[in-house]
Amino acid sequence: MYKLDVVTPKGIIFTGDVYQTVITTADGEIGILENHMLLLTNIKPGKLRIEKSPTDVQEFAVTYGVIDVAGDKVIALVEEVYDLDSINVEEEKALLEEANQKLSSESITDQEREHYQKQKERAEALINLAKSKSS
């Protein structure tokens, strides 16, 4: 068991002792057990699975952030956290549509490209998570 904090600018989402955390990073999904190697890395949009025990499991959808794994203390700073069934799929689809449109247009600055790329990635991840929940 180790202590996990999940914090967003809008407040603390989770704090407490957990057995395992599964989260999506730039290199793919990682599972963090006790005594994980010290790690600092970026979080990508995807699922956050908090296992307080093998049977007591909570799942969320998260967007961008950073995770700091330091011995018996893990801090995840994320921009947004959603319950899997509270994702607004229609809104995300609209955001995805907008991002795709902008990305396919010629007149776009690098900065806008980066912004819409992220918007696309985020919307796709959230839509997939919502689907996986309902199916």
Partner: protein, 291 residues
């Protein structure tokens, strides 16, 4: 003052009563919104502490001078991010910010500096429209719908890349902040270049910590996150102060309306009594004449 008939005075009193009803309702609404905004503001604290802690920790492992977002240059081109409310009726809330920015700009222009503006809030947008300033971005209506990180990420991204590409040498944030629950102050804060914690000694980078994909990339994302977060916090601060200011303005307006009603009621009573007295005198005179 021209003499008003009792009926005119009555009409006036009813008008003031209606106004008082509106101001008192607005006060209630602002009080509720203030509570909401305050909760949002308090909720940012854990994030802010942890984010700052991480940057602090990471700055031990990294050559801080090397990062473009930390580069100090002579401030010849300056960006101001001006945050006001979308709506007025909040006392001097908006004009305080605008006046502060105006003074700064005039001062800097006199020194031959280049000033660019990023305006957030309708009052700021309208104020600086057609005044001949270079406006990089103007955003309205963000408090109602978009007060989230996707908006601040957008603006934060623009600011960071302007700074990295040397289109600007420094970025300042101007917004109102609540000091106590009933007073606010206009604050100017430097957003860029970021000032890293200066007390940290650079030690030999330790091999134990695994930083993926690379220190630079993680620091980059942390710094960008920090900029976005500062913007977000400034917006939340500003909206908290706005509701507080409006609540006080409306409270005063309600009190003033009550005072006005009291004053006009006295005038009304006097006028009515006067009319009755005149009529009585007429009747008595007529009665005397008949005798």
């Amino acid at each position: 003052m021209a003499k008003l008939s009792p009926r005119d005075i009555k009409r006036k009193i009813n008008g003031i009563k209606n106004t008082r009803r509106i101001t008192s309702a607005m006060k209630m609404v602002s009080a509720a919104k203030l509570r909401k905004a305050q909760n949002l503001l308090y909720a940012t604290r854990p994030y802010s502490e942890k984010l700052y802690g991480l940057i602090y920790d990471l700055s031990i492992y990294i050559d801080r001078e090397s990062h473009p977002l930390l580069a100090k240059r002579e401030e010849n081109k300056i960006d101001y991010v001006v945050i006001t409310a979308d709506r007025g009726l909040a006392g001097a809330f908006n004009s305080n910010v605008l006046k502060t920015v105006w003074r700064e700009i005039i001062d800097l222009k006199a020194k031959g500096k280049e000033v660019n503006l990023i305006l957030i809030g309708r009052k700021a947008v309208n104020f600086f429209k057609n005044k001949g300033f270079n406006i990089v971005g103007a955003y309205e209506d963000i408090y109602r719908t978009d007060m989230n990180l996707s908006f601040t990420a957008k603006v934060g991204g623009i600011l960071a890349s302007r700074f990295i590409e040397a289109q600007t040498d420094a970025v300042y944030l101007v917004n109102n902040e609540l000091i106590t629950s009933s007073t606010y102050e206009t604050k100017i804060r430097k957003l860029l270049p970021l000032e890293p914690p200066s007390t940290v000694k650079i030690t030999e980078s330790s091999a134990v910590y695994n930083i993926e994909p690379s220190k630079e990339e993680v620091l980059e994302s942390l710094l960008q996150r920090y900029i976005n977060f500062q913007l977000y916090r400034a917006l939340v601060e500003s909206s908290t102060a706005e509701h507080s200011a409006r609540m006080i303005a409306m409270d005063n307006a309600t009190k003033n309306a009550g005072e006005a009603i009291r004053k006009w009621t006295i005038i009304f009573n006097k006028a009515r009594q006067e009319a009755i007295t005149t009529e009585l005198i007429d009747i008595i005179n007529a009665a005397e004449a008949i005798k």
